[in-house]
Amino acid sequence: MSVVVLVEHTEGNIKKKSLEAIQYAAGIAQKTGTTVSAVVLGTLADNVMQDLGQYGAQKVLHVPDARLNQLHARAYTNALITAAQKEDSKIIIALHDINGRAVAPRLSAKLKAGLVAGALSYPDLTNGFAIKKQVFSGKAFAYVNITSDVKVITLMLNTFPLSKTEGSASIQKLDVNFSDKDFGIRVKETNKITGDIQLADAQLVVSGGRGMKGPENWGLIEGLAKELGAATACSRPVADAHWRPHHEHVGQTGGTVRPDLYIAVGISGAIQHLAGVSGSKTIVVINKDPEAPFFKAANYGVVGDALEILPRLTQAVEKFRQNHK
């Protein structure tokens, strides 16, 4: 018996958030007296997979079919079910990201297994199998109890800090009987964003609102983001006015972020926006209106004109980076 985890990789490396998922699975395995079997789909080098042992995986089940380098949710589901059957698993874990959210519900429906989507805690076994998750886009949390025998969990990223230990995972090839149906979605064109930091996975985010006055001032946001190594985001009015692309919109009807640091510049802090950023560990608000509601949700605040403050902050970060090389 083991806990099965779907592992994601990109450009030959395991994604950091997947290491978090393995570590989370290891925590559950320890609580339930089992081990962790990581499932790797697509092309990846053996030494990279062995290193998953450093985060708590005893075994890697590898399906080296190159078609799986792209998201094929039915094929992924098929592979995970094959792995779970082989390992006699009762717990399957994926990430609460685009891939995990395509696969986990299918697993849940197929196996008639309860799903907790976006786990923020380890299961409380004294209370059934209860896991904390965000509801109402972060305005509240719920403790969801999975009552079925088989359990499926998607883990919210950046929830538990990573710690590396000694260890090496053994690798086994996993044979999966794929059918044409598993590849019913045909990919015509892929545009990977390279270079930029992905907003959903970012540790640091600099976000601008209407207080930036116009798209011509966004160089200041990008300048600070570049100096920090941060992703850029925006509020809904900014996306609606087409100052910034829609995928940068953070809030209850846009994307949700969970960075270590969220710097909100010229954003008043409507409840819908706060809902999308409430998982941030530290929030800095820069706004010329001292009454802006965002200050109530902030750890640090600066009252003043964003267009004057941003260059100073960027310079201060630059100085800090030079002193801490």
Binding site: Q70, L71, A73, I98, R101, A102, A104, P105, R106, S108, A109, K112, G114, L115, A117, G118, N127, K133, V135, F136, G138, K139, A140, F141, A142, Y143, N145, I146, T147, G184, I185, R186, V187, K188, E189, T190, N191, K192, I193, Q198, H246, H247, T253, D260, L261, A275, T282, V285, K296, A298, N299, Y300, V302, V303, E308, L313, A316, V317, K319, F320
Partner: protein, 247 residues
């Protein structure tokens, strides 16, 4: 082409969540309910556009909820749609919700099922993909553009680290987000017409739920903001480094 749009009732985005019954329930006092924005602004409007362009013949709406959800179904019908179905069950378990919808779809038959990328109340984003699995269909999530022709859909979707254009044969379930359509406001003619469009109430099938919510919790209040002088950004950077430990 017959389209089914899945509609969910959620508290208005401006709602401040309050708890009751020893934190085991959401206090509904004074809460205004709306159609889940992703369902309304993107899934429903795109379905209506496909009908207006002659691609779709029928647009049906479905929700799983008790009688108190009928006001949002009427509101959805005011935007458009030929008929609405309400499955008379109260569920916050996505497996149960998906099973109820799948039960109806099996008898009715649809070519394209549209839903929002997630509902803004329970944030699972699971019903669409579960429905696809239960109906043995493909599922395309995080769609930003949907074109349909003959028995083929072409969808732009967000993927990990970028975007993709994919095609898929009908039937398929597609979950919509920003980009798929532009929100509309219902007009008086639509509101009047909605009153005469059929709203079918369907008895639920027997489904065991596989999760239950034990309790809720509100986020802890922030300790209070520490103000930093706009002239001293070095101090802010120092605080972020040594106190918050985030850089």
């Amino acid at each position: 082409m017959k389209i089914l749009v899945c509609i969910s009732q959620v508290p208005d985005t401006s709602t401040k969540i309050m708890l009751e019954n020893n934190n085991t329930a959401i206090n509904n006092q004074g809460v205004t309910y709306i159609i889940n924005p992703y369902d309304e602004w993107y899934a429903l409007i795109r379905a209506l556009e496909l009908k207006e362009s002659g691609t779709a013949t029928d647009v049906h709406l479905i929700t799983v909820g008790k009688a108190n959800t009928e006001q949002i179904i009427r509101k959805a019908l005011a935007l458009g749609g030929d008929e609405a179905i309400r499955i008379d069950a109260d569920s916050n378990d996505p497996y149960e919700t998906a099973s109820q919808i799948a039960g109806y779809v099996k008898s009715a038959g649809y070519d394209l099922i549209l839903c929002g990328k997630e509902s803004i109340d329970y944030n699972n984003g699971a019903v669409g993909a579960m429905l696809a699995e239960l109906l043995d269909m493909d599922y395309i999530g995080f769609a930003t553009d949907i074109q349909a022709e003959g028995d083929l859909v072409t969808v732009k979707r967000e993927i990990e680290g970028g975007e993709e254009t994919v095609t898929c044969n009908l039937p398929v379930v597609v979950a919509c987000q920003k980009g798929v359509a532009e929100a509309r406001i219902p007009n008086m003619r639509g509101i009047m017409a909605a009153r005469t469009r059929p709203l079918k109430v369907v008895a639920p099938i027997a489904v065991d739920s596989v999760t239950s919510i034990l309790s809720y919790e509100l986020p802890p209040a922030k300790a209070g903001v520490k103000l930093v002088s706009p002239d001293d950004m070095d101090e802010l950077v120092e605080l972020l480094h040594s106190e918050a430990k985030v850089i």
